[in-house]
């Protein structure tokens, strides 16, 4: 798989590290919460689509930027890569 880094251009998958699902997870429970189901939803529940999937990757073996990559989980076709600008939240 080749990922087109917005800064470096197309690079081999080996230069990248997967950093997880870029889709918004269920809301993080309050720090003191003991609601098991709410924590489960926040930590584990993901859409896991067969198809277009937004992901966070780091170009660790190149410019070291974090990227938002939209990848088709069935074909590995990448339709979008942008420098990742995380919202400050939670």
């Amino acid at each position: 798989m080749i990922i087109p880094c917005p800064f470096c251009g197309p690079r081999d998958l080996a230069e990248f590290t997967y950093h997880g699902d870029a889709a918004r997870a269920a809301a993080r429970p309050a720090h003191g919460s003991t609601d098991q189901e709410a924590w489960d939803r926040h930590v584990y529940d993901r859409r896991n689509p067969a198809g277009s999937h937004a992901e966070i990757w780091q170009h660790a073996g190149g410019c070291r930027s974090h990227l938002r990559v939209v990848r088709d989980t069935r074909t590995h076709e990448i339709t979008e890569t942008t420098l990742y600008a995380p919202e400050v939240s939670q």
Binding site: F7, A14, G61, C63
Partner: protein
Amino acid sequence: MAEPFISTPVMAATAQSPIADALLPGEYGNLAIGAQVALSERFGLAICDVCAWPGLETKTANAIKRATGLAVTKRRDAVGEAAQGFQHAPGRWTVIAEDPSLAERLTRAVSANATVVDLAHGRTCLRIAGEAGTSVLAKLFAIDFAEKAFPVAKGLATSHHAVLAQIQRVDAQTFDLLVFRSYARTFFHALTRASEEFGYRIVPPRAGEPET
């Protein structure tokens, strides 16, 4: 503004090359048509990383230009007589020079627009030159080394397995490779093995630099 922190320059008189025991001048490998690659270490260089604060990239590029004379911009890397510079990540430049005052000049020029980290003690600069240079590098890195894709002066960051490397094309047949000092011995070995089929020459250190 308070007086900026200026790191201590490399002390060339006492510094030691991490590949001294491997940098044995001579010709090696397949010499049927002579050595087609020359390998050397650019020892004792000043090596700095300049990281612009968000939104201050153009001011930082201009400051690098003032400090070094390099015609770097946000979009263009540069190779000059006394220095070289390239952007290896958004808003981050690697600048190298023979002059040990590089870190101080950059630190004063960028002022509060960027930070300067002196990497001279942590990086080793290797040079590969010759007509088979791109063929050797293509064995080690998944990068297009054709001059159209990788023009003179362009620099980039990539990796050879776990060894991160920054590469700048100095001229059509010459590349400078910056690797972590602690990986330099291993990487130099890989470079020599990759060069064997083309025949390679190890260039002796220049006068004034430590003998190997």
